[in-house]
């Protein structure tokens, strides 16, 4: 022990660990422990009101139940639609806006702030405002549509056909700003030489965009895609505030399904199983992206 104490590296390490101890203990208590506990719950049935004595082992039953849970399957489908539509839309619109704002335009700073503002606003506040705008009979959006002569505007949140897309539109509006700001930073990193050289070779602006800007921004796109995909899979706030998963489960997503299972039906074990499925999906998607990124990077 004494010898160990004499070793300077040990003492330095100890000091280091002690310094991170406050934060680390919080992490253990409030993050790591709940994660491990939820992993344990996946194989159990928990009668929550009986406290810890209400936990009983059920093996893989929770996972077997997934296949015959229509709400889970519907949520999986809705999550997929949500991600497949909203992520590319945010990326494309964000890129276009970034390229435009990177050139000389009037009110550049004002526009940039305006577009970024939704992203830093409270998602709940944004959802409340949008649900008022979406109101089918007296909401501003439908009133404008009626003024343009559309006699039967969509029901937005009150129709099972349009509710999911109404939420997608809102979340794209929120995330465009994020994509734009990251792209603006990425654009600064592209050497001007490339554009000058291509101009001498007679390349048009459009060609420059697709042959220089887009490929040079690949790492940026990768970053945005990963964060937005994770964000979109976890979508919860807008659903909880605007539709509660309705009408007819048309906006039921995994995170809201988990919330209902745990907090309304008290099926803690099953809810934990669904949340680990959600984790697995995000994990796999991210792994695939890492793999494909390695391939892209070889081109540079």
């Amino acid at each position: 022990m004494r010898q160990l104490w004499r070793r300077a590296s040990f003492r330095e390490n100890l000091a280091g660990y002690l310094f991170i101890l406050p934060n680390l203990s919080g992490y253990f208590l409030f993050v790591l422990l709940p994660i491990l506990f939820s992993l344990y719950l996946v194989f159990n049935d928990w009668e929550y009101l009986k406290g810890f004595s209400g936990i009983s082992w059920v093996g893989l039953d929770n996972f077997k139940a997934l296949g015959s849970d229509p709400k889970f399957l519907k949520a999986l489908q809705n999550n997929t639609i949500f991600t497949v539509v909203s992520v590319p839309a945010s990326i494309i619109l964000g890129l276009v806006l970034a390229v435009i704002l990177n050139k000389h335009v009037y009110f550049k700073n004002t526009l940039r702030t305006l577009i970024f503002l939704p992203y830093v606003s409270s998602l709940v506040a944004v959802s409340v405002i949008w649900s008022i705008m979406y109101r089918a009979s007296d909401g501003p959006i439908n009133q404008v549509l009626r003024n343009f002569g559309i006699s039967h505007p969509p029901g937005w949140l009150s129709s099972p056909d349009s509710a999911l897309f109404a939420i997608i539109i809102m979340s794209v509006w929120v995330t465009i700003g994020y994509a734009m700001v990251i792209y603006l930073a990425g654009l600064q990193g592209i050497s001007k030489d490339l554009y000058e050289a291509s101009e001498i070779d007679g390349a048009s602006k459009l060609r420059q965009f697709f042959r220089i800007t887009v490929p040079m921004l690949t790492p940026t796109t990768f970053l945005i895609a990963i964060t937005l995909i994770i964000w979109s899979f976890q979508v919860f706030g807008p659903v909880a505030v605007m539709t509660q998963g309705g009408p007819i489960d048309s906006t039921m997503v995994l995170s809201y399904h988990i919330y209902l299972l745990a907090f309304r039906y008290y099926k803690m074990g099953y809810a934990a199983a669904v949340s680990w499925v959600l984790f697995a999906i995000i994990f796999v998607v991210t792994l695939i992206q890492w793999q494909s990124q390695k391939r892209w990077q070889q081109h540079f």
Partner: protein, 459 residues
């Protein structure tokens, strides 16, 4: 040596940071309860009223009503008169996460409430089954509380072991609230007894221009539910054979009533009402709807002219009935179930407070629209407290008639898996109202899903 010193110094620093971090967390959690329970003017007198040995018992009391709507006054009155038993009121929001918070607090060893309110038979059953509530019979006998004389044992659920696990503090009364100006303009009078068809006819008559004939808060009730309760007041979701009652003609009638009112534009579409989060008070008091099948508690909003500016009177009619001559009162019945935490250390003191609350204390909740459950409470006094200064906004005669009436209150003491059954009903109803399935298909699916849900729970 120097290094060893610095290492130990940093260790001390780390520990102190950790401790202060924890300490702060604890304080933060305490503060909302503390600030809610002690209003500044009151705290001084409370401190001086404490007994000399400073050993006053502090009871924690959790309920769903905001402190300013009555509970704070009630608790303050008690605390002034009983310096040795101080009660601290904490509000929990009566929704899914709020109830989970209460239950988690009940499971904890520290900060657990001694006394808590439960809203709804389904939650009460769950909590009793989980053993969270103390059987009250011995405590009632000890305190000399006359259950039959004050509340009536017929108004309390009998649990399988024949014991009381809660005492209700509040009596809800359901009523159809009508905009009197609109009613008079239509040349109609407040009906004394009527059928659901007559209700639909009146709604059609009242439907004029911007004002819809009727409205419901979709989060609280639907016509299917209401009509079903007027047909079968006891355990309406369950048929006599123990299976689901979703094939009842009354339920079908209610669902069809709602669909036809919506299709004719007499009532806002269900999906729009859900998306718009409409409330009875808002629709009724801003003149967007003329009539609503709701409850007496809306009086709280009728009197709140700051948030709901209006100048018309609201009248009160009894609920329409499925069978002629019935007197079922949906939305009405005993509420505010008071139970004692099984792990409370001061059960006798809690019972003492509860006994006072049920006999006198809950009168302090009346201005907030909650009527005491006590049979001995004076109906005329309740009416005058409810109306207060607002005779120009509340139709006194019809309100007094409502309060004086005797009703059969729907109960659902013995419905298995009530949350799940309600979800089955709501999901299939939604599909029917949105035109995704016809009524017969809806009823058929409801029935079979309901039956298998009940079957699944029995396993």
């Amino acid at each position: 040596m120097k290094k060893a010193f610095s290492a130990s110094a940093s260790f001390v620093l780390a520990i102190s940071l950790l401790l202060s971090g924890c300490g702060k967390g604890g304080n933060n959690e305490e503060s909302p309860a503390a600030s809610a329970s002690a209003s500044p003017s009151e705290s001084a007198s409370e401190a001086s009223a404490l007994p000399a040995d400073g050993k006053a018992i502090t009871l924690k009391f959790w309920g769903g009503v905001p402190p300013e709507s009555g509970p704070q006054n009630v608790v303050d009155t008690w605390n002034k008169a009983n310096p040795d038993i101080q009660v601290e009121y904490t509000r929990y929001v009566n929704d899914d996460p709020g109830n989970l918070k209460l239950e988690t607090a009940l499971l904890s060893n520290t900060d657990a409430p001694d006394l808590f309110m439960t809203y709804g038979d389904d939650r009460m059953t769950k909590r009793q089954e989980a053993g969270m509530t103390e059987p009250l019979d011995d405590l009632i006998a000890q305190a000399g509380f006359d259950v039959d004389g004050i509340i009536g044992s017929e108004n309390i659920k009998k649990f399988p072991d024949g014991k009381y696990y809660y005492l209700p503090a509040n009596k809800n009364i359901g009523a159809v609230l009508i905009n009197m100006t609109a009613l008079e303009a239509a040349g109609e009078k407040i009906p004394a007894s009527w059928s659901w068809d007559e209700f639909a006819a009146l709604a059609t008559k009242l439907n004029k221009g911007e004002m819809k004939g009727t409205t419901l808060d979709p989060a609280l009730s639907t016509f299917g539910d209401l009509v079903l309760q007027t047909a079968k007041a006891k355990d309406s979701y369950i048929a006599e054979d123990g299976k689901s009652n979703f094939n009842s003609p009354a339920l079908k009638k209610g669902m069809e009533l709602q669909k036809s009112l919506e299709d004719q534009g007499i009532m806002m579409k269900y999906s729009e009402a859900v998306a718009g989060k409409i409330t009875v008070q808002n629709e009724l008091l801003t003149g967007k709807a003329a009539m609503s099948a709701s409850q007496i508690y809306i009086i709280r909003y009728i009197k709140d002219v700051q948030n709901f500016p209006h100048d018309f009177k609201i009248g009160f009619a009894p609920y329409p009935q499925f069978t002629a001559g019935g007197n079922v009162n949906p939305g009405g019945g005993m509420g505010d179930y008071m139970s004692i935490n099984k792990n409370s250390k001061n059960k006798e003191a809690v019972m003492k407070f509860m006994s006072w609350y049920l006999q006198e204390g809950n009168m302090g909740m009346t201005p907030g629209g909650r009527i005491p459950s006590s049979k001995k409470a004076d109906a005329a006094q309740i009416a005058s407290i409810l109306i207060g200064e607002d005779k120009n906004l509340i139709d006194e005669e019809s309100l007094k008639a409502m309060l004086a009436g005797s009703y059969t209150f729907p109960t659902s003491y013995d419905v298995p898996v009530p949350t799940e059954l309600k979800a089955v009903y709501r999901e299939e109803l939604e599909k029917y109202l949105l035109g995704a399935q016809p009524i017969d298909k809806a009823v058929e699916t409801m029935k079979s899903r309901g039956d298998s849900t009940i079957q699944g729970a029995k396993k």
